[in-house]
């Protein structure tokens, strides 16, 4: 029978390295998905996954067993991703999406692949990346957690360590900014 996260955390705390490995196995893919949405870049997402697990390992003694391990880990990953995105912003030579690398979002699946839409899809992806980059740290985190991860506002606030009202407001501001940046393109492609 598969052990619950809480049981694995308890074992890891008492010196069981395999238990920590089981947590890594269980959460790696979800963490990568979150990290990629936050950073927009595969290599950075991989770094965030590694850094998050390392921070989690170092802070296992701080983990409150009444909380969900996944939520706690997401919180660490969000902070790691924001650190990375912010440090990259301070180095303008490193773009969120490096056009010279393989397209990190290789194919846009669509139920209605009209020629116009296909022609605009590359530009749209680039504009999404740019628009995401314009969001503040809290807006970016809240939007990724709500929109891509499908977390409800209560859960978003738990991951971000803020009040639900603040999380909701961050999502709202993020959507407003993204709309302003992207709606003209969506209108053009419909």
């Amino acid at each position: 029978m598969e052990l619950a996260d809480s049981a694995l955390v308890a074992k890891a705390r008492s010196g069981d390295a395999e238990a920590f490995r089981a947590l890594v196995d269980r959460h790696s893919r979800g963490l990568f998905r979150l990290a990629f949405r936050m950073t927009g870049n595969e290599t950075d997402a991989e770094d965030v996954v590694q850094e998050s697990f390392l921070r989690a390992y170092r802070q296992l003694n701080k983990f409150d067993e009444r909380a969900a391990f996944g939520t706690w880990l997401y919180r660490i990953a969000v902070n790691c991703a924001l650190d990375l995105v912010r440090s990259r912003k301070r180095r303008p030579e490193q773009q969120l999406i490096d056009a010279s690398l393989d397209d990190p979002w290789p194919s846009v699946k669509s139920n209605d692949p009209t020629p116009d839409r296909l022609a605009l899809s590359g530009e749209f992806r680039e504009r999404v990346a740019q628009a995401m980059d314009e969001l503040s740290a809290a807006e970016r985190a809240a939007f990724v957690l709500r929109h891509f991860e499908g977390l409800r506002i209560e859960e978003v606030s738990r991951v971000m360590g803020c009040q639900p009202g603040a999380a909701k407001h961050s999502v709202f501001r993020a959507v407003q900014k993204l709309r302003r940046a992207l709606e003209p393109l969506v209108g053009a492609a419909k």
């Binding site: 010196g15 390295a17 890594v24 590694q50 390992y57 003694n61 194919s107 709309r179």
Partner: protein, 245 residues
Amino acid sequence: MTHPSQEELIFHYYGEGESRLAIEQHLDICDSCRLSYHSLERTLDRIEETPVPERGPGYEAQVWARLQPALRTGSRFRILAPPWRWAAAGFAFAALLVAAFLVGRSSQPPVQIVQTPVDSSARERALLLAVGNHLERSQMVLTELANANSRGPLDISFEQERAADLLDENRLYRQSAAGAGDAVMAAVLDELERTLLEIEHAPPRMSPAELNDLRTRLQAQSLLFKIRVLASTVQDQQEPTRQPL
């Protein structure tokens, strides 16, 4: 019902609105709201379509294989930077690293992982890189607050959480710097520590006046400037062999 606000439409899209039925009914009869909602829907649906690259079947094993050495040495993931000038204070440093190790032992979970010998210069490089990262992350938190612009109370709980995380590291680095005789770094870290502490214990919703007060104090201390200079010095020492992120 009156026209729903943009916020209500957004959370209606996410299925979290409080008056879903009323909004549905309103959208049936109000052309302008329906148009606005469909436009919102199309935009958010398109964003949703951007896919995440698939990971291969052995991904979990790869993560673990990459993670294990870092767990062994306690170092960060990024490639280690070149030696720094603290190498001259090698003896004092080694003593501090032992102290840091002991602190770490008392606060970390005792996962049994085989220790491998790591030369002292690698430890120094690891510490240099860690200090650089720490300064950069601290600077980001302070900049975020210094640049915040709010007419009403500002929720800073997110920044407080980050300040609390940074405090633990800051104490260790400050003690290390003081022990190694780097008075300049120790002094900046000491100022930073007091400011982080202040942020951590501030009310989670900061009034514009309180925010302005904090901003004024940051400017008076020139703390951000000092951190930038220190971070830049540390980064310069890392540059020659630093690999891209």
